[in-house]
């Protein structure tokens, strides 16, 4: 090794070690990003770049052409805007519920309760499941002849066609997503809670702070940096939601549960003609949003390290 280092020099040797990873990373990450930009600037349904006509920013114009962004029917590509607004609604609800429930669960699991280890495992278990498995489990529970309706029929309440009603399908998509991912965020918040020194709580106790004031004035502020990281991670993950909802509802009924990633998938790969250009433009717009969210998270993480 020393002989090789002498021959190549330290810098070249470092590059030699990095090269295999750089080639793989370049091939499967950088190259697709660059290709994506080219696809976004070209039209037609031909997959070969050489055979695709240059359309400039037309795909972006098509996506963003709206008389009123709040009225999707006024948009040229209304499916895109339906998916955008579904995603926005989904992310707001899913992230809100998820962070709220994850915090509540973490606080309970941080207490000296009986069988704490067992409950920690129970809440984390869904995170280990494949998204398709999650979708299938809940599909079996919620379909017309599913477990939940069987139970409701048995109680006399009568079943509901959960996956056919747009509101219910959307609501259950949020619920399932929260159920499947909450354990991960609970774990992060639990670690954050456990990082708060015990003697700070003891000092608050000696300072006669009641449980609510201790939570509001001690726990929440000291957990805030962890909460922000959880919030940003959940937001990014929320925007990327696709597989489990696609396997659960297929985006329906209608477009009630079609989110932005599903739109990109269907435009580019599932539909005919395959509008690679439109899908690539949409994915670049989503990437822009995710980059902004990631930068915010990095900034917060850096502030935490510095602080």
């Amino acid at each position: 090794m020393l002989a090789l280092q002498r021959k190549l020099g330290v810098n070249r040797l470092a590059w030699a070690f990095l090269l295999p990873n750089l080639i793989l990373f370049g091939l499967f990450a950088f190259l697709p990003v660059i290709l994506n930009v080219f696809y976004a600037m070209t039209g037609g349904d031909n997959v070969l770049l050489a055979d695709r006509p240059d359309v400039g920013a037309r795909n972006f114009v098509t996506l963003l052409d709206c008389e009123n962004y709040l009225d999707v029917n006024s948009c040229r590509e209304d499916k895109f805007w339906r998916a955008v607004w579904n995603t926005v609604r989904f992310v707001i609800l899913q992230v809100g519920f998820m962070v709220g429930f994850a915090l509540l669960t973490a606080i309970i699991l941080n207490r000296d309760i009986r069988a704490r280890g067992f409950f920690r495992s129970v809440f984390f278990f869904p995170v280990l499941l494949s998204p398709v498995v999650v979708a299938l489990i809940w599909k079996w529970i919620l379909q017309r002849e599913g477990v939940l309706n069987a139970f409701l029929d048995w109680t006399g309440a009568g079943g509901i066609n959960w996956l056919v009603d747009a509101q219910w399908a959307f609501g259950w998509s949020v619920f399932i997503s929260v159920w499947a991912h909450m354990g991960f965020y609970t774990l992060i918040l639990l670690a954050g809670l456990q990082a708060i020194p015990r003697d700070v709580y003891e000092a608050a106790l000696m300072d006669r702070a009641n449980a609510w004031r201790t939570f509001r004035r001690i726990t929440l502020p000291l957990l805030a940096p962890t909460m922000l990281v959880v919030l940003i991670l959940a937001l990014i993950k929320g925007v990327q939601t696709f597989d489990e909802v696609y396997a659960f509802t297929g985006g329906g009924p209608g477009t009630a549960t079609t989110f932005i990633i599903q739109y990109i998938y269907e435009e580019g790969f599932a539909g005919a003609p395959r509008l690679f250009g439109l899908a690539a433009a949409a994915s670049l717009l989503v990437a822009g949003v995710l980059v902004v969210l990631t930068l915010i998270q990095l900034r917060i993480s850096r502030n935490n390290v510095d602080g």
Partner: protein, 358 residues
């Protein structure tokens, strides 16, 4: 001010008893120091008084009221933690005001109290800083200020100076004793440093393995230790111990090295033939030509105004001699020493108890 009484207080974790029935009576306004080696239970005992640690048996009484079932928050105590336990996200002002806000004190009164206390502790220029922007000494003052501002009945200090450097520790020691003189409150202070205990305390409770070894005034503990442990723990450098047997007639002790030394004829109860341990402090040993005991020099420390000679007797027993002035000796040199017979302590070797009877 308040009187704190412990009556047969015990603490067990499962089958392990860590505090084994302690009786203690700390009077109004006393500065009491719990001292002992690591793991002796001194911090646990303090936390049991505070209410942060429930007691397994016995009673803790404050001003004659048993407080076993009263929550920590309602005992009227304030505690200064080893780690300071300042609220890291709050400014110094908020740290000081938090306890007062919790009991509904008016904003004007809070401001007035913070003004007084911060001036007294010289932290008035730090009120808008966060704990991370303070030095160790400043944090310690804020932690003390947080306790003082609440005007508690009793102050509890859990090794508050252990995170400070030596110089700052000496300064803070003086400040805490001055604070005690000014406020006059009962204070209970935990430390493993016997110098802190000796310099600050009105009364010292020496603990070992969850038991109270001795409770009394610092000089009483120094001059009349109840057993070998207290004799060895109180005083720096620690007392020398030499094992031997009381000679026939009881006039002298024959050390295990075969050397002899005259014993005091009054003040102690011992029998000829009894196995005893003679204790003598390093400053009561002198180098005397033709002295009764010989010592081989291991090392010498010259501090300018005083000298320490560390050596070993013939049987390997280690011995320290503390002399004033600049005394030099060669490593390996054999010196003869003599102990001041009026200053010796005698302990029964088997039980470790002092043989002093007055």
């Amino acid at each position: 001010m308040a009187r704190v009484e412990l009556k047969q207080v015990k603490k067990s974790y499962g089958s392990v008893e860590v505090i084994k029935g302690i009786d203690l009576d700390i009077q109004h306004g006393e500065f009491c120091v719990f001292v002992g080696p690591s793991g002796c239970g001194k911090s646990t005992l303090l936390r049991m008084i505070s209410g942060l640690e429930p007691i397994s048996d016995g009673d803790v009484a404050i001003d004659n009221e048993v407080v076993n079932d009263i929550a920590a928050a309602d005992r009227g105590l304030a505690m200064v933690f080893q780690s300071y336990a300042l609220y890291p996200h709050m400014s110094v002002r908020q740290n000081l005001s938090f306890g007062l806000e919790n009991i509904g004190t008016s904003k004007a009164e809070i401001a007035e109290k913070i003004g007084q206390v911060s001036k007294m502790l010289q932290i008035d220029m730090l009120l808008d800083r966060k704990p991370k922007d303070l030095s160790g000494g400043q944090r310690q003052r804020v932690a003390i200020g947080r306790a003082v501002v609440r005007e508690p009945r009793v102050f509890l200090f859990d090794e508050p100076l252990s995170n400070l450097d030596a110089e700052l520790r000496v300064d803070m020691r003086g400040e805490i004793t001055a604070l005690h003189r000014r406020l006059g409150n009962t204070m209970i202070y935990v430390t493993h440093d016997q110098v802190e205990a000796m310099t600050m305390a009105d009364k010292i409770a020496v603990l070992r393995l969850g038991e109270l070894e001795q409770f009394g005034r610092p000089l009483d503990l120094y001059n009349r230790p109840r057993n070998i442990f207290v004799a060895g723990f109180i005083g720096s450098p620690k007392m020398n111990f030499i094992k031997g047997t009381v000679a026939e007639g009881g006039a002298s002790i024959t050390f295990d090295t075969g050397e002899t030394m005259a014993l005091p004829q009054s003040g102690f109860d011992y029998q000829p033939g009894q196995k005893v341990t003679l204790g003598i402090r390093p400053n009561h040993v002198s180098l005397v030509e033709g002295g009764s005991v010989s010592m081989s020099v291991k090392s010498v420390e010259q501090l300018g105004g005083e000298s320490y000679i560390y050596g070993a007797l013939k049987d390997g027993t280690l011995l320290t001699v503390h002399l004033s002035g600049q005394i030099s000796a060669e490593i390996g040199e054999v010196l003869t020493i003599e102990g001041d017979a009026d200053e010796v302590h005698l302990f029964d070797t088997e039980s470790g108890l002092s043989l002093r009877h007055d």
